[in-house]
Point group: C2
Chain length 251, copies 2
């Protein structure tokens, strides 16, 4: 009877250790990939911020209606980036952090089973171990459901806001009065004297954010390397990204 | 009268050149930033593809309901990445390419005005130049409205699909039967003999995609550098990204 209990205890300890190791491995990997996903979202937001600046810079050089329309779009698009920032922060707090926290929980559980095994009598340990395994499993299922539900909710909130913002932005873009702008532009061709006309033109062609960026896209050599990576490919797409940035700098 | 025409012609030529230079500069910069934005979207899609793999790998080690729920989510999430891929391709074709094409148009327009100026008589040139400027301006306003409208439409299409996919995914996630899984897990604690039980445990703890990834997130040292860049910062966020990847590799 004691021998059977000892065998049972050893088997349960191994089962607990296997379960704990599995969670440790997969939650760690999930945490890492989710963190990478959130990081890429943050990079996308950074690029969108640059786009806002660039649209504003261009808008400043344009005729009134187009200028107003573009500045309006830049403002809406900037608002969307604030929502994206909130999305990034929520994903960190509600998805990445809880997965990271599991590392600590797992370490504690492992110590707990080791301790139980070493210090308690066989019958009590066996019952206690079953309880520990049971609680661990229960909590894990609950947590994984919760983490994925949080992920989905946070993403939905952002996509919903995006639809809202873009709907308004589209209508504003359509409302830009091309004809009126063309009239304004035409009238600048026949001002009272040439110097006035040239002043208008010169004032319009100065952007408030004069930058050193050369117009690489116009040279026709800019690459947009967006081809899909193979499904089995690992994180070395980062390296790929670097190379491409270097290529662009050299163009 | 001829002198006035020559002056008028010169002023118009300069105005045309200023307008063309302004478009060349800003469309080039917009093209570049839009291309960067699309590239980051493609990187996000790559990370999401890795996430699909990782979720499937973890799901394979789990009890039936959780396994089914996670695999279902991975499938829906993969579908969303196909929409993201379509979004990336559309943005390239309808936003980045048209902006890039402007480089060629601008070069032709510049040659056109130079040629007109050099070869035609003053009166004809002046009228012709006005027409050229007018057409250029008209086309430009039309094109910029069109490019931005395309951008908004493509983005909306994706966000709409995302909402649709996540709505279904959320409902499926909520439907995962925790209690049944727990019962299945519990029954694996009392199989006819220990070897059977251990077989079940061992079979469950083997993932189909055994990887060499260490669980860095669990160590608590993983960094999620998502802090917003300064609005005036340029493209060197790429460098930042590389450094962080290196840091992670070293952890």
């Amino acid at each position: 009877m004691l021998r059977r209990n000892v065998e049972s205890r050893d088997a349960q300890t191994r089962q607990m250790q296997d379960a704990v190791s599995n969670v440790e491995k997969h939650f760690g990997e999930l945490c890492q990939v989710f963190a990478g996903y959130v990081r890429k979202k943050a990079r996308l937001r950074d690029k969108a911020d640059l786009l806002v600046n660039e649209i504003n810079a261009y808008a400043s050089t344009e005729t009134p209606n187009l200028k107003h329309g573009l500045k309006n779009f830049a403002e809406e698009f900037a608002k969307l980036q604030d929502y994206r920032q909130a999305e990034v922060e929520r994903l960190e707090a509600k998805v990445v952090e809880p997965l990271k926290t599991y590392g600590t929980i797992v370490k504690m559980k492992r110590a707990e089973t080791e301790l139980q095994r070493a210090t308690m009598d066989a019958t009590r340990t066996s019952r206690h171990l079953e309880e520990t395994i049971d609680n661990f499993e229960k909590q894990k299922i609950k947590d994984i459901k919760n983490i994925f539900s949080e992920f989905i909710t946070i993403e939905m909130l952002f996509h919903g806001k995006a639809l809202e913002v873009y709907t308004a932005a589209y209508q504003n873009m359509q409302k830009i009065d091309e004809e009126e702008d063309l009239e304004i532009f035409r009238s600048s061709l026949y001002p009272p004297d040439y110097s006035t006309r040239l002043d208008i033109v010169r004032a319009n062609s100065k952007s408030p954010l004069q930058r050193s960026l050369s117009a690489k896209c116009i040279s026709g050599t800019a690459q947009i390397p967006t081809s899909r990576i193979r499904k089995d490919q690992q994180d070395d797409d980062e390296e790929d990204d670097d190379e491409l940035e270097v290529t662009e700098e050299e163009n």
